[in-house]
């Protein structure tokens, strides 16, 4: 009888450990368990500059969503953004790719517009600003001086 209790205890402890591990990996990996909730919009950038799936989407400095996927479309980057239902994006909002610090990671900033029209679920943010390629700018500046 005593032996049975010990086995039960170990089993329970083991299961608890696995649950904790699962929770941790979902949290840290920023995965979604119930995939399809939220408000999804997409934007097309001529240069995504190393943006990654999972990069943050920011409005006024507040982290509101994540990049859900990046695919190539007609040699441009099509970026899908996943935002909470409570956030509404106007059709004249501008999405721009910015860098944290000078060489930090990339994120998307949305500057809200003033239009009454709201982009529907699955719609497109028309106005975009691609990542600024620092190297290209420097080379332009350097060779422009010739």
């Amino acid at each position: 009888m005593k032996r049975f209790d010990l086995e039960l205890g170990v089993g329970l402890f083991f299961i608890l450990g696995i649950i904790c591990l699962g929770y941790l990996s979902i949290k840290l990996g920023r995965m979604e368990v119930l995939g399809n909730e939220g408000y999804k919009v997409y934007a097309i950038f001529s240069n995504s500059g190393g943006l990654k799936t999972g990069s943050s989407v920011v409005i006024a400095g507040v982290d509101v969503g994540r990049v859900k996927g990046i695919t190539l479309e007609d040699y441009q980057a099509r970026v899908i953004l996943n935002l909470p239902e409570s956030v509404k994006i106007q059709e004249d909002a501008i999405a721009s790719i910015k860098t944290k610090g000078l060489i930090g990671e990339k994120y998307i900033e949305i500057t809200p517009g003033g239009s009454e029209k709201i982009i529907p679920e699955g719609g497109r943010i028309r106005e975009t600003q691609p990542a600024v390629d620092l190297e290209e700018l420097i080379s332009k500046f350097v060779f422009g001086k010739l």
Partner: protein
């Protein structure tokens, strides 16, 4: 018989109109090219280069730009969330203020034109919106990429935003106006713009 002729007349007149409208509505690139060429011809006109006619030259350039830029849309997009809160009177007052600000900021640069070439790289049109891509080649062979974002309004395409090397003009003013309005007030922004315009 007479009725027949009349009909023919009406039909041909209608056709002529339809064709001319189509030519006028044309592609966004053609319209931007038209305005750009006109401004360049004003800039290179040696008769207008005399200092005494500087004012006249500026007026001509502004007039050509007025025909292609949708100042109201640009002002609306730049004020963004704060536009809806403005009264009609404030909106009427803000639009010329905004276009004068752009004139003041960019006129010197336009007047400094020294034979830069404009190469039209293509356009994309989607419904009533379009993008015209342009490369500006300077005398030193530097390429500057410019994107005109245009919107169809009646028979013409009008510019509502300009991106230079991927940096949008409207986005720049939008964040500046937003931070001024949030820090102080809309009236303060108008005062600032007026002060800037009054400065010679």
């Amino acid at each position: 018989m007479k009725v027949m002729y009349l009909w023919q007349g009406v039909v041909s007149l209608f056709l002529a109109f339809a064709i001319s409208f189509q030519a006028f509505a044309g592609e966004p690139t053609d319209q931007i090219k038209l305005t750009t060429d006109r401004i360049i011809s004003i800039l290179t006109d040696s008769a207008l280069k005399e200092p005494a006619r500087a004012e006249e030259r500026r007026k001509l350039i502004r007039k050509a730009a007025d025909e292609r830029f949708d100042w109201e849309e640009m002002a609306r997009r730049s004020l963004a969330r704060h536009w809806a809160g403005r009264t009609d009177e404030e909106k009427r007052e803000f639009i010329p203020l905004f276009s004068d600000l752009l004139e003041r900021t960019y006129m010197d640069k336009v007047e400094g034109y020294s034979g830069e070439k404009v190469v039209y790289e293509g356009e994309t049109v989607e419904g009533d919106f379009g993008v015209v891509k342009v490369e500006i080649l300077t005398a030193k062979d530097t390429e500057i990429s410019v994107e005109y974002r245009v919107r169809r309004k009646g028979n013409g395409w009008f510019i509502y935003d300009v991106s230079i090397e991927g940096v949008s003009l409207v986005n720049n003013y939008r964040s500046q106006f937003n931070s001024i309005i949030l820090r102080s007030s809309y009236r303060e922004l108008v005062k600032k713009l007026e002060a800037k315009l009054a400065k010679k």
